[in-house]
Symmetry: C2
Subunit: 489 residues, 2 copies
C-alpha cells in the first residue's frame, strides 16, 4: 500500500484551518447520532514514531463529550498480559454501544514490532495476521465501526522531528528507543509496515494512509475521514451481515433424544472412583500449572441437571489458587452494551490456570435465540463466531472441554419440586426456571443444533448423562483427566 500510494494534495493553510474546524464540529454533532443509534466506534491510530498520532487524537476528541470516549495508549504488554491471548488486552478496551475508543497504537504496532525484533517468525506472524483479520471481522460484523489510520512520514522528516524533540529536556523523554531504531532501519520498517497494511486491508475495515509530513494537514485528513466514515456507517447500520460457511472440523454428535439416560454407577464404585480420579486430577493440575497450559471448561445443561454438583467434584481436586469458576448470568448493562463475547474474552484464564464457565457464550444460541434477545442473523452467525473464538483459544494453546449435562423432563420436575420443598435449596429455584421448563421442546431443538454445529475436534462437546448425578460426575472427571493428559504429553 505504501509504495503505490498517491499522496493527497495539501490545501492552503486557511482552507485547512477552516476544514479542520468544520470536521471537528461535525464529529461533535455525530456523537449524538452515534448515541441514539448505538453505534460503537474504534479508532486505531498507527504509524511511524513521531508522526503526530497523539495530537491527531487530541483533535478528534476536542469536540466530543468525555462521556463518549476513552483514549488508550498501548505500551508493550505486561507479564500478566503475556499470559493471555495477545488480542485480549485490545478486546478488553472495545467501547460500549454509542461510544468511542481511541487507541494510540494498537495490534498493528505490537505485531509488526515483534516481527521486526525477531520474536515472531514468518509462521507465527502469519498466525497473528489471521487472528487479527478474524478479530476485526468479528467486530465489524457485530456492528462496530473500525477506522484504521496509518500515519506516514519520510525518513528525513522523522529524523528531524526526533532530533528536535531530543534537543529539549522537556520533550526528550517523548522519543522512545524504538523511534530511533525505526529511523535507523527505516527501509526495513517500511517494508514490514507495507506488508502488514496489505495483509489486513479489507473492505469492512480498510486502512487510511495519512500523509503526516505536515501536522495540520494530517489532522485534517484524519478528522474528515473519520467524520465521513461515521456518516457512512450510520447509513449502512441496518445492512445484514452475510453468513460464513461453518467450515471448521466438526465431530458427529448424537441427538439428545437418543442419549441413554439410564446409565448409572453404584455408590461404592462412585466413592472409589471419585477418590482415585480426584487424586489424579490434582497431580495433573500442578503439572499443567508448571507447563503453563491454560484450560477452559464449559458447562451447559438444563436447569437442575446437576451442573453445580458436577463442578464441585471437579474443583474439589484443584488447588484454589489455580482455578476459577465463572458463573454466567444475564449480562449486566455495561456488558450488554458491548460485543457479546466481550465478557468472556475478559474472563479467560491466564496460562497455567483453569477457568470453568458455569454457562457460557453458548447462551447466544439458546436463551438469546429463544427469547429473541438477538436477531436470527446474529444467532445463526454465532455458530461460526464461537467456533472461531474457540479456535483462537486453541491456537493460543488452551485445552477446551465442553459439557452438556443432560436430564429428562420428569427428572427435572422431581428436582424442581425437591428444591421448592427444601428450605436450604429454595434460592436455587426461580420463576424463570419454571418458564424455561415450558420451552423444553424448543430448547431441545436449539441444543441439538448447537451440538451439531459447534462440536469441533479442538473443542468437542461431551454429553454427561446426569439422571444419575454420580455417573455424570465420574464421567466428567475422566474426560477432563483424559484431555489434560493428552495435552501434557
Amino acid at each position: 500500500m505504501l509504495k503505490d500510494w498517491n499522496r493527497p494534495e495539501k490545501p492552503e493553510k486557511d482552507e485547512m484551518k477552516a476544514r479542520i474546524r468544520a470536521a471537528r464540529e461535525r464529529l461533535g454533532e455525530q456523537q449524538m447520532l452515534l448515541k441514539e443509534r448505538k453505534l460503537p466506534v474504534i479508532v486505531l491510530v498507527e504509524g511511524w514514531g513521531a508522526a503526530g498520532k497523539g495530537s491527531a487524537i487530541g483533535q478528534i476528541i476536542r469536540n466530543i463529550d468525555p462521556r463518549f470516549f476513552k483514549v488508550y495508549t498501548m505500551a508493550a504488554p505486561t507479564e500478566e498480559e503475556r499470559r493471555k491471548p495477545f488480542l485480549c488486552r485490545y478486546f478488553e478496551k472495545i467501547p460500549e454501544a454509542g461510544k468511542f475508543t481511541l487507541l494510540d497504537s494498537g495490534w498493528m504496532d505490537e505485531v509488526v514490532r515483534d516481527k521486526l525484533n525477531g520474536q515472531l517468525d514468518e509462521k507465527a506472524y502469519a498466525g497473528r495476521v489471521e487472528s487479527i483479520r478474524r478479530f476485526e471481522r468479528g467486530l465489524t460484523d457485530n456492528g462496530y465501526l473500525l477506522v484504521k489510520f496509518f500515519f506516514h512520514i519520510g525518513k528525513k522528516e522523522q529524523k528531524q522531528r526526533i532530533e528536535s524533540l531530543l534537543a529539549s529536556k522537556d520533550t526528550a523523554w517523548r522519543v522512545s528507543d524504538n523511534d530511533v531504531w525505526q529511523n535507523n532501519h527505516y527501509k526495513q520498517c517500511e517494508e514490514a509496515f507495507d506488508q502488514y497494511l496489505d495483509d489486513t486491508n479489507v473492505p469492512s475495515a480498510p486502512w487510511y494512509l495519512i500523509d503526516s509530513e505536515n501536522r495540520k494537514f494530517a489532522e485534517m485528513q484524519v478528522l474528515e475521514t473519520l467524520a465521513t466514515g461515521i456518516d457512512t456507517a450510520l447509513k449502512n447500520g441496518s445492512l445484514a451481515v452475510p453468513l460464513l460457511p461453518n467450515n471448521f472440523p466438526l465431530k458427529q454428535m448424537p441427538k439428545l433424544k437418543d442419549v441413554d439416560l439410564s446409565k448409572s454407577i453404584s455408590e461404592e464404585e462412585y466413592r472409589e472412583e471419585l477418590e482415585r480420579l480426584q487424586k489424579k486430577l490434582s497431580a495433573l493440575h500442578y503439572r499443567l500449572y508448571r507447563k503453563r497450559v491454560p484450560v477452559i471448561i464449559v458447562y451447559e445443561g438444563q436447569d437442575a441437571a446437576g451442573k453445580g454438583g458436577n463442578i464441585k467434584r471437579l474443583t474439589g481436586a484443584l488447588d484454589p489458587r489455580g482455578y476459577e469458576v465463572m458463573p454466567i448470568a444475564s449480562p449486566e448493562p455495561h456488558e450488554k452494551a458491548r460485543h457479546y463475547l466481550w465478557r468472556f474474552w475478559t474472563r479467560l484464564p491466564k496460562t497455567g490456570h483453569i477457568t470453568i464457565f458455569d454457562r457460557s457464550w453458548y447462551g447466544r444460541v439458546m436463551v438469546e435465540r429463544l427469547e429473541g434477545f438477538c436477531t436470527e442473523n446474529e444467532w445463526q452467525r454465532a455458530y461460526y463466531e464461537m467456533n472461531e473464538f474457540e479456535q483462537e483459544l486453541h491456537n493460543w494453546g488452551a485445552v477446551i472441554i465442553k459439557f452438556w449435562v443432560q436430564i429428562d423432563k420428569d427428572t427435572q420436575l422431581e428436582r424442581f419440586t425437591d428444591r421448592q420443598n427444601t428450605p436450604s435449596k429454595q434460592w436455587k429455584i426461580t420463576d424463570e426456571d419454571w418458564r424455561n421448563r415450558e420451552k423444553w421442546d424448543q430448547y431441545e431443538v436449539a441444543v441439538d443444533e448447537m451440538l451439531q454445529k459447534t462440536s469441533t475436534t479442538y473443542a468437542p462437546w461431551h454429553i454427561l448423562e446426569s439422571v444419575d448425578k454420580k455417573y455424570a460426575r465420574i464421567k466428567a472427571l475422566k474426560i477432563v483427566i483424559d484431555a489434560l493428559e493428552k495435552a501434557l504429553d
Copy 2:
C-alpha cells in the same frame, strides 16, 4: 501476639474430622443468609510460607457455591500496580454484597516483606500500617466482615515442609525463594510478623492465630472461626457505626449565598488568557508526567453550571495520552453492590497521569443524602471517610483539586430552556434535571455543609463563579496551574 500466645489444644483425629465436616456444612448454609442479608465477607489468609494456607482456602470454599466467592492469590505488585496507591489492588478485589473474597496473602504479607527487605524504613512502614488501619476500618464500618487469619508454624516444621516439597519435582516449584529466606531468618521474620499483628489487631477486625503444625487441625480452627465470625456478624448487622471526629486540617469556605456571581471577563481578555494558560498547562503536564506526579481533579456543581465546557478548556491543553475524564453517573449494579468508594478507588490515575472526575464521591453527601439512597449515619460518616480517602491519596503523592462550579437559579433556568430549545443540546437535559432543580434549596444546604466539612489543606475546594462561564474557565486554569507548579517545585 505470637509471643504470649497459648496454643489451642488439638482434639482427637475423629473429632477433628467430624468438626471440620460440621463447620464446612455450616458455611454452606450461611451463604444463603449472607446473600439475603447482603453481608460481604473478606477472608484474609496470611502466615508463614508452607503453612497450609492454600489447602485451608480449599476447605472453606468446598461447600460454597461458586457464584458466591472469588479466590485471589496475590503476587508481588506489577509495574502497573506500583504506579497506584498500594492498597488499590486490594480494594479492587473486595466482594459484592452477600459474597466472599478470599485472599491468599494480602496487604500484611506485602508490607511485612517490604519492611524485611529494606524497601520500607520505619517511617514508611508506620505510614503503611496507618493506611491499613484506615482501610480495614473503612471496610468494617461500611458493613464488610473482615476475618484475618495468621497461619503460624515453628521453624523446624517449616523447614521439614520445605524440604519435603523440594524433594519432588512435581512440588518443588511451590517453594518460593521467600519461603526459604523466611526459614533462614525465622527469628527476624517472627518479630516482624509479631509487630505487624500487634499494630493491626483491632476489635472490629481482630487477628485469629492458627496453629498450623497439623494441617487438619489448622483447617478445623479456620472453618470454625469463620463460621462463628459470620454468625456474629449476621447478629450485629444493624448496629450503628459511631461517628469519628472530623479532625482533618480544614480550610474556611464561604457560604454559597455569599459568592459574588457577577464576576466576569471580557471576550478579548478571555481569548488571550486562554491561549497563554493552556500553553503553560501543556508544558506543566509534560513535567508532571516526567516526575510521575498523579493529579486528581474533581468537578461538582449544579446542573448546567458549565462543568463540561470548563473541563474541555482544561483538557484542550493536555496530551490525550496523559489524562482521562471520568464521567460519574449513578452506579451500575455491580458498583452499587460494593463499598461506595470502590468505583473511585478503581478509577484512580497512575503516577504521572491526570484524572478529572466529572462528579465524584461527593455524590454521597449530595444526591445520595437528599434522595435517601444512604442512611443519615452513612452520609454523616462520609465527610470523615472522604477526608481520609483524600489524605490517603495526598500521602501517596497526589495533587488534589476540587471545583464547585456555581450559578444562580435564574441562570440555570435560562440554560435549561436553551438546552430544551436547541436540538443539538437536548440530550443534555433530562426530567431528572428538572426534578433536581425543585430541590435547589435543599441542595444548597447540603453543598454548604460539604464545603465546610471537606475542604482540607491538602484537598481544598475552589468555587468557580460560572454565570460568566469564561470567567470560570480562566479561574480553573489558573488554580490548576498554580497547584501543579507548587507540586513540581
